[in-house]
């Protein structure tokens, strides 16, 4: 190296050091407490009509309140309404609003605002909350604080699916606006107001001091938008982030637990990991064939490999086994039984690779579609492929980007449009997973009821049970679900692999109020609520 170059290199190094030395960390100059929490997705203005993913729903719950909400045990509890609400026949609901609630612009939250919140989405082309509006027959404002909803039909799910989901919005912001998604003022009545948003960069939430449940414990929440999970975890380790809306893998639990000031939260979640069969396509149209696969796949083993201790293995009845209305069912791993079932179907001959031949002499070789960029799901496919190979079934894995995969599995998001796949991996959101109607919407072959029946599962027994049972109370619903689980367990339209826990890590030196519970994220209202009311 010549002298000149050495000098250049030295100068360069000096410049770097100089840069490094000047300026501090992201300023701590704001008065009061401030926390920096990464948000893993750009969710626009976090407005109720424009959320992108469940991350947006999580965060916008801090800005918008709902009449009901779930507590840390995932029980439904009244939030904006008083405890003395009445429900008649799961059809007529009368609520009295808790006094003293205001929107962030100072306007009062009254019965009229609630009525508006439940009618306005019906006028919105791109709102999935229309479903809630459409179920309502009429809304009566009884007085300023009291409101009565009458549904078109009794619905035991509505407290959760309707009243705990619909965000209460400020009428003066939306009144007369044709397309609500163009409104960028995120004005709700929740405990935080959106103070600043820069697209692709960050959000700043500020506490609402006179919030009706008490002043939030953290004054300012800053949320940089960060999508790379390794970088987020590095920043949490370095203390630059207090937490994130994202999750960590089970392989990281020990590493974080060994760190002083880090706490890992493992919360039960209601989103199952599923393997779907295309039940309309031969040979998956045969119950015995699907049963054979269920016997050949070691569900519990796969669950343990993928998630360690941080998951509940799936059951043939689909419903999470610790829910009160779950039937007592479990998978038995029995490759010999699988072979017997396959031979019973006449798939006795094998080719040179050890793959069984079907009635036309073609090998039993199928495609399994999975989502690119989701490492856990591709690993699930790999494990299933290995286990099915043992009984003479060949799987070819197709890893596709999300929309491409959905175009095969769920064309136009309309199950009556059919489907083009053999097997696929699948997962549903947490909100769906603890809803009473979950199993029915996944399995009923009347596609107006079974809106999520991506397996194309057709079972007279199942449909009959649903059609014949009048459900007006939760007891009746739970009794029906017990029977339905038996049917599904026998006919195997899908394999429920696991209910994985939500694993998150938080810095407890920066903030010690983190609370997490079933089906929630640490970024929830309970984490920031004043002690006395929490």
């Amino acid at each position: 190296m010549s002298m000149k170059k050495k000098i250049c290199a030295l100068l360069l190094a000096a410049a770097c050091l100089g840069l490094a030395a000047c300026g501090g960390s992201n300023g701590e100059d704001v008065g009061g407490t401030a926390l920096t929490i990464a948000i893993t997705n750009d969710e626009n203005t976090l407005a109720p009509f424009t959320y992108v993913s469940s991350t947006g729903l999580t965060v916008n719950r801090l800005i918008y309140d709902t009449l009901f909400t779930t507590d840390l045990e995932n029980n439904l509890v009244p939030w904006m309404v008083e405890e003395d609400y009445t429900v008649e026949n799961s059809q007529v609901f009368t609520f009295r609003l808790v006094e003293g609630q205001t929107f962030h612009n100072g306007e009062p939250v009254d019965a009229e605002a609630v009525r508006f919140s439940f009618t306005y989405p019906a006028t919105q082309v791109n709102s999935t909350q229309r479903r809630i509006c459409n179920a309502i027959e009429s809304i009566e404002v009884l007085d300023e604080q009291t409101i009565r909803f009458t549904l078109k039909e009794p619905d035991v799910n509505f407290l959760r699916d309707g009243f705990a989901s619909m965000r209460i919005i400020c009428p003066s912001v939306y009144e007369g606006v044709e397309d609500g998604s163009t409104v960028t003022d995120s004005i709700g009545s929740g405990m935080y107001r959106l103070a600043e948003y820069r697209t692709g960069e960050y959000y700043v939430l500020e506490a609402v001091e006179d919030y009706f449940k008490g002043t939030p414990r953290v004054d300012t929440i800053r949320m940089p938008i960060m999508t790379d999970s390794t970088a987020i975890q590095q920043a949490i380790l370095a203390g630059e982030l207090a937490a994130s809306t994202g999750t960590i893998g089970m392989e990281m639990v020990d590493t974080f637990q060994a760190q002083e000031g880090m706490e890992v939260f493992a919360n039960a979640d209601y989103a199952p990991l599923i393997v779907n069969f295309n039940c309309g396509r031969h040979p998956f149209d045969q119950v015995d064939f699907r049963r054979a696969i269920a016997c050949a796949v070691d569900v519990e083993g796969i669950c343990r490999t993928l998630f360690g201790d941080y998951a509940l293995p799936g059951t043939p009845g689909l419903i999470r086994s610790d829910l009160p209305y779950a039937a007592d069912l479990s998978y038995t791993y029995d490759p010999e039984a699988a072979v017997a079932l396959l031979e019973g179907l006449g798939y006795t001959e094998v080719n040179s690779d050890g793959i069984r031949l079907d009635e036309n002499g073609e090998p039993l070789s199928f495609e399994m579609i999975t989502y690119a960029g989701n490492a856990t799901r591709s690993r699930l496919c790999e494990l299933v492929r290995e286990q099915l190979r043992q009984v003479g079934i060949e799987i070819e894995i197709l890893s596709l980007d999300m929309d491409t995969a959905d175009a095969y599995i769920w064309p136009d998001f309309e199950v009556s449009n059919g489907r083009d796949y053999d097997l696929s991996t699948w997962g549903w959101g947490s909100a769906a997973g603890n809803s009473y109607t979950y199993l029915i919407s996944l399995c009923d072959s009347d596609y107006d009821v079974g809106t999520y029946n991506v397996c194309g599962y057709q079972s007279q027994r199942f449909d009959q049970l649903v059609a014949d049972t009048q459900v007006t109370s939760t007891e009746e619903m739970e009794a029906l679900l017990l029977e339905l689980q038996q049917v599904v367990a026998e006919e195997v339209p899908l394999l429920t692999i696991a209910y994985a826990d939500t694993l998150q890590v938080c810095n407890t030196n920066l903030y010690d109020g983190w609370k997490a519970g079933k089906g929630t994220n640490v970024v929830n209202v309970y984490s920031f609520l004043g002690e006395e009311t929490a």
């Binding site: 050091l17 030395a21 626009n44 082309v125 479903r131 692709g200 960069e201 630059e240 998001f413 809106t451």
Partner: protein
Amino acid sequence: MKQKLTHYLILLAMVIVVNFFLPRWMPGSPVRTIAGEDVGSLTAEERMGILEAYDLDKPLYQQFLLYLRDLFTLNWGNSYSKRQPIFSLIGSRIGWTVLLAGGNLLISSVVGSLLGVYAAFRRRSKGGAAALVASAAVTSLPPFWVAMILLSVFGVRLGWFPLYGAYSMWGGYTGLAAVLDVLRHLVLPLATMVLTSFMMFFTTARYGALQVLGEDYIRMARMRGIPEKRITRSYVLRNTFIPVFTMVMMDAGYLLSGSVLIETVFSYPGLGTLMQEAVEARDYPLIQYTFLVSSVLTIAALLAADLLHGRVDPRMKEVAELE
């Protein structure tokens, strides 16, 4: 000249057409983006309603005409997924991308060329060969790995540089402090990019220099006793400059595509991630216009390279005139 311009105009027309059809050939539809995650609970009419509201139910040729109209009237509208004007979305990102990718282009071409010329001059010595092999090794490390090592050493352990963002979002810096703040945020992503991408310039410059070094007139110059320094400056560097210049112009075309990986790791708000998000969301208008902007830059860079080529390389000029 006129022929050249028509060539690039035809190219531009092709790009405009492709940018309309490419996103629509991708499987999937923007409905999920427009309606949110609960898209499955929509009824068929509700889904139709969405398509109508966004003109997606019209025949393709009508959509194409609408696209042409919007394109030329500069009425680019809102993004499906971000629900904000596409102009301002691109505007808010473009500066950061130019800073990061442009900085990389500048530094890696200079560093790469200098190393390359050095390696050419010392071709037969250990130093030259070592520079070559070491450069090959460094540039073939997985970029995210380099990024993470830099992040964990200089960001987490030593705490010299910030871990995310393009500036201190809550720092409230102004003036010189703000400039320094931006530079501090730039160091790690830029270093990652340079370390993983300078090889192309290295080999090109080295090749260019070797070509000239073997030429008779250089040997003649040496024999005539012209000082080595002058040979380097007046012959070798000038001749090395041409291929490197071509490379730079070609890379400049890709400037606006940004670098998805590095932007993601360092949470840098550039165009690369915006494009990727647009593609993943099947956000047709955002895909169209972001890629269009990027393609237009590519074309401009190619055109500039063409026009300047004759000027920098006299040989090319002769060739051009002959034809």
